[in-house]
Structures are given as C-alpha cells and as structure tokens.
Symmetry: C2
Subunit: 419 residues, 2 copies
C-alpha cells in the first residue's frame, strides 16, 4: 500500500516495525562500501593473463620500452579505433585514466581555447550538465571555475529543448555527458537525441561536448542499447569539431592500470597533439602492448565483456529484485533497470535522499553521498541516490540492499509523519 | 695547431683535406640518430626482470588492479622518498613521465596560481632559464606563453649574481633547472649555488623553482658529484614552498614505461593533491609494484645504476677520446667531461654550431638541432651542440664522432676562410 495514502496510525505502526528491523541491522556491525563503481575482485581476475605478456616490441619492430610514439602504437590505435568506430587518425591512446584526458582537455581550452580565445580570458563561462550525472565531471568543472547549469535527463537523454535553448548563450561553452548507459541513470541517448546534439548550432564557436563513452561495450544483458556514432551524425552538419570522445579500459581490464583513449576531429586531434608534444614524450607503450596481446580485437573485447556481465548482472538483479519486492507500490521510490553500465539510479521520496544515505551509513553501509549526482552536490529534490552494485559480493549485496530498502521506507515514513 | 693562427694557404690545405674526408663519409650512407638522450637496447635489457612481476597486492593488502590511492602505494613512496632524501609525506608517485608532472604543475599555477593570484591573470610573466638547458623545459614555458630570460651556466651552476638580480622583478615567477649532471653541460650545482638558491628572496611571493633531478642517481664514474639536498637548505630560510622537485625512472628502468615522482613542501603537496583529486582516480599502481619488486631499495637502485654506467661510460669515452685526439689545441671547440648524466656539451667556434649540425646531417648523422639548448631555439653565440652518446652502439658512435670532428673543423675553417 502507498505510504502517502496510509492512515497515520497504520503508518506509525509501519514506522515502528521498520525501526525495529533497522536496529537489528545496526547490531550486525556491517561494513560495506557501495559508494563507487568499482569492479570486484572476480572481474579483475578475468584480465590476469594480461600480466603474463612480456613482449616488448610493437608489430613495427619499435621497442616499446624506450621513448617515442606520442599517440600510441599502431596496433593499439587500431583496436580502440574499432571499439569507438572512428578512423585511426582520429584517435590517440593516452595514459591510464580517461578522467585525466578530460581534465587535461578542459585545461587546454582554458589556456589555449577551443577557438580564437582562451576560455580563461572570456570571463564567466558555463557548461550544460545533464542531471543526474557523474560527480567527477562536475568536479573538473568546479576546479576550473566553470558555472554548471542543470539539464534534466529524460528517457531519451538530456532534455534537448532545454539544451537547444541554453546554447543560444555564447558563454555556454560545452557539456560533459555519458551517452551510453549514463552514469547514474543507465540511459542510452536515443537516435533523435544524438542527431539533435550533432545538429546543435551553439552561439559559442568554441562549444565542446565531452562525449564520455565510458560504457561503450559494457552491456549487461542479451538486449543491448544501440547508440548512434556521434561523429557520423556530426559529419552531416559539419560539426565534428564540437565533439571530444573519451573511453578507457578501466572497466574492461584493470581499473587502476588500464588505457584511456580520446577520439576527435582532425582539427581537435592536431590541437591535442600540439599540447601533448610539450606535455609528454609518450605514454606507457608496454601497457598498450599488453592490452593488444590480451584483448586482440573487437571479438576479443566482446567475449571479455560477456564474462564481466556474467559476474555483475546477477548483482544488478539482487538489487532490482529487492527493490521490486520491498519498495514497489509504496510510493516511496522509483528506479531504473539498465541494460548496461555500472549503476542503478534510485529516486526516493523527495527530500529523503540525504536521510536515507545517512540511515544506511549509521548501520554500516556507505552509499554515494546524496546530491553527488548533481552539480555542487545539490540535488534540488534531494531524491536521487546512485547505487553501485558491482564491488560487493552477492551475499554482502543482499544484506546491504535489504538495509537500504528499510532506510528508504524509514526516511519516507519519517517525512510523512513529520518526525 | 690553432686554426685561427694558421696561415691562409695552410688552412686552405687543411680545408681540402677535411672536405675530402667528409665526402668519403657521405658515401658511407650512414643513418645514425644522436639527437635525444635515449637509453640503448642493452640498458633496457637490464630491467627485463621487472616484467616478470605478476604480484598485484601491495604490502597493505590493497589490490593494485583496482581504483584507489591517489599518491602512490606506500612501499613505492618509501623507495623514491629514499632516492630523493625527502619525507614520504612530501612525495607523490605519478604516471610515467616527469615532463608531464612539470607541465601539469605549470598548468596548475597558470589556472590556480602558486600564491593568491593565478599566473594567467598576472599579465606577462617570466622564467629565468639557465643556459644551455633542456629544450623540453623551454617548450613547456613557450606553450604557456611565459617569457624566458637567459641565465648563463657557470662551472658552479647558474650565475647566481644574475639570478639574484633577476628575481627582484616580481613578474619573474620561477626557474626550471637540472641541478645534478645538468642537461646538457653535466654540471652539478656547487654547495654555494644550492645555498644561494635556497636563500633567494624573490619579489614574487609565488616564485617556483622546478628542481628537475632527472639524473639524481645517474653517475658514470667512481668519482661522483655530490649535490646538497635542496629542501634541507630551504628549511634554513623557510623557503621550502619555493621548490618543486621531480624525478623519474625513465633512465633507470624503462624510458617509455617508468614512474615519475614529485617532492615538495606540505603546502605544495596539498595543492597538487587537491588538483590531482579532480584530475585522476590514481596512477598505474601495478607499475609501481613492479618497480618496487625489481629495484627493492636504494642499494638495489645503486647496483642497477652501476650496470647502466658499465654500458654507457665507454660510449662517453669514445666521444671524449675522439674530441681529445681530433679537436684539442685547434681552437675550434671545447667540451665537458661529466661525471654523470646523459650528455656531452660541445661548444664549437662561435657562429659554427648550425653549420656543424647541418654538415653532419648531410652525411647521415642527426644531432640535436643547434640552438635547441637555448630558449626559442636561439643560441646567441651559435656555438652549443648537445651530444647524446647513449643510444648508438660503440661502433656506430666511433663513426659518428669521427664525422662530427671533421664537421666541427670544416665549419670552423669555412668561417675563418669566409667560404
């Protein structure tokens, strides 16, 4: 029965019942962390063969132990160009972190601009931010003092009506987004959304979309979400310079020792290489060799990702089954059921997210802080909680999610009862 | 006999003789590259055991394959804190490139400043540049639009009288330097120089010295150059915030797959970590583990560096012996005989460096471009040439240096004969 339409006495009874269950949980001394989208140990084990590679020569004969090659060894470029469906000349292999690639790109725009004038010389500049979104994107923008403007996420991706209006302001310089299995909603942008993004005519000639394709091959189910190739669409509008795509193997091979790549137009690749030529002599090519030897080709990547899905899909199911059985029909929460990615996005009763997270924490389960999925940590509805089910074991997860369901209801009951 | 005091007819004869030897060389179809300070294959082989490490857990039990740890695994911090003789809390382990560490630090100062005001908001700013120096330092400064002012290198390090005068200008914000076995001179800063640097009282409160200790353990001989610990000296003047020290294993293990570190004061470490926390989730910890397992401790590093010296010291000797036998007493060149590092600095007759490099190139030997050791590629005397003897084999080097000695004399004879 819906909490909101329950008679007060009945809700008080429900509240006592929940509080008693909650107190039982507190005595279990749980210590679980579901705050970050981290692969679990079993997932990391899948890539252990990668460490057995002691090959040091690229196919060209180049000694990968030495200096040289700014943009990645050719076979590694080939592999990731296939993964992102771009030309090899439009791809650069970088270090171990796509976050680092994005941060450095924004720094580049601040100092040297994406057009005629450095962003740092243009006074107050702004970015459109699809919300809920990825906290580390917001972190980069906040570091550089770029104002963030919320754009609501719909089932089809960012609300394009809002975005098209926003980009009429020439101080709006760009947008970070996760177009496939978005963080945290698990939404994949519809064909129409991708087309409208490619067709954007921003007032700012130096407008840049950071297309963070973090979950490009991270399907969980037989049924997968198709995503249009953004560059193919941009070609139709000559807007290729507007998009910087990034991806990494952090959730393919090793989260801490993977490879990040960037794909961009000829113009943007040239500007990035110009900067990189001053910034480094080249990234770790032995790690590039390891990745190629291990993943081999797109078939290799797909097969490998199926093994990941076999490990983590059951964990998503544990969370979803608990939500279905414990929260359905009570008017206390809604959630998504993504076909891929790393998160389940839980929307609790308005004004209850912070309290829910706090209750979980006091019983030993750490969730992503409420508000983290919004710029400046401010969820206007205090409703969204990002659930990261991959790292804990299934057993731990069952316990954690049982607790979470209690806390979601407790917080809702507290609110309705004005406690 | 000194070319300058030779009768014209005799010099003409010498010139013909040299030209004939040069033309013989052109027919050998040499193809040698001595342009960069690259380790040779035999040096890289020394570290192959590093690739056999498949350990994935840090001493703390942390899984290095996963996300986490911003500043490096503790055992790796310990190792490199010993190498730089600093506290572990004052050291951060980064990616594979100390150049990248320096570039990012300058970017950080441009955007957020080293004091109250971002460098980018302070109009024209300047750096003092000991010359001859490292072209990639100059490249970073040029990229950020920072004006470079030459400070002559003496036998004791940068001319401190000049530097002390320069820093009275508050728009002078810093200096890059290589204090041990400097690039290219092989000079190690004297105790007095280090003390005067530590005692500097720049007008700019946000003055920063990038102490690029690239050759900290890179001795070539039994006789090594001692270098005072800059931070110990700075403590005496409370100037620790003025120095950012970097180093890497690029010339210890693998040039393309090593580890870079930064050492700095508590204040500076805090500012760097604040930025890094937005820039990355952490660098490659498996590579950190590999390095610790392989190098173990300072005794391990020292023993390993002796093996490097056994390979490259004979190469330095090939060059020095050729210079001694072919160029001595002719008034056409002077050079250093360093106790460590990667270069021999050759000063040819004024106005002859470009021509010497060009002559070598036309006979198949690529040297570092003349001028590269000066800001903006402009050697005011057109005299300095950086010789990088490590990469070619001894046999190749003998040929290359025989050619070089011919070209040095040819260029000098051309100049004296007004050809």
């Amino acid at each position: 029965m819906n909490f909101g339409s329950m008679p007060v006495a009945e809700l008080e009874g429900k509240y006592s019942e929940l509080m008693s269950a909650y107190k039982n949980f507190q005595q279990k001394n749980l210590k679980l962390d579901m705050s970050r989208g981290k692969p679990c140990t079993q997932q990391l084990e899948l890539s252990m063969d990668m460490l057995n590679n002691t090959e040091i020569k690229a196919e060209s004969g180049l000694d990968c132990r030495n200096y040289g090659i700014l943009d990645g060894i050719p076979e590694c470029k080939t592999l990731f160009a296939q993964m992102l469906e771009v030309d090899e000349k439009n791809l650069i292999v970088m270090g171990n972190s796509s976050l680092n690639v994005m941060f450095d790109y924004i720094a580049q725009c601040m100092i040297h601009g994406a057009g005629a004038t450095p962003w740092a010389s243009q006074g107050k500049i702004k970015f459109a931010c699809p919300v809920p979104g990825y906290d580390r994107h917001f972190g980069i923008l906040e570091y550089f003092g770029i104002e963030m403007i919320n754009v609501p996420m719909l089932k089809s991706g960012p609300d394009m009506d809002v975005l098209e209006e926003l980009v009429k302001d020439s101080s709006v310089k760009g947008m970070f987004c996760v177009p496939k299995y978005s963080n945290p909603d698990g939404t994949t942008y519809s064909d129409e959304t991708v087309r409208r993004i490619a067709a954007l005519k921003p007032a700012a000639e130096d407008f840049r979309i950071i297309w963070d394709n973090a979950y490009v091959v991270h399907d969980l189910k037989e049924k997968t979400d198709p995503l249009l190739n953004i560059f193919d669409e941009c070609k139709k509008y000559s807007s290729e310079d507007m998009v910087i795509e990034v991806a990494s193997t952090s959730k393919i091979t090793f989260a801490g020792a993977g490879i990040a790549v960037v794909a961009a137009s000829d113009n943007n690749i040239a500007m990035i290489k110009k900067r990189m030529g001053m910034q480094t002599i080249g990234f770790d090519k032995i790690n590039q060799l390891r990745h190629v030897a291990f993943l081999k080709d797109m078939n290799g990547i797909r097969a490998h990702m199926r093994r990941h899905a076999e490990i983590i899909a059951p964990k998503f199911n544990v969370v979803l089954e608990a939500f279905n059985s414990e929260l359905s029909g009570k008017g206390v929460a809604s959630w998504n059921n993504p076909n891929g990615g790393y998160f389940i996005s839980l929307n609790v009763m308005e004004g209850c997210a912070k309290r829910t997270v706090e209750l979980c924490k006091q019983a030993g389960v750490v969730l992503t802080p409420a508000g983290a999925t919004f710029p400046y940590g401010k969820d206007p509805k205090d409703s969204n909680i990002r659930i990261a089910p991959t790292f804990p074991s299934v057993e731990e997860l069952k316990l954690a999610v049982e607790l979470l369901c209690i806390c979601v209801q407790l917080a809702a009951a507290e609110k309705l009862l004005n406690k």
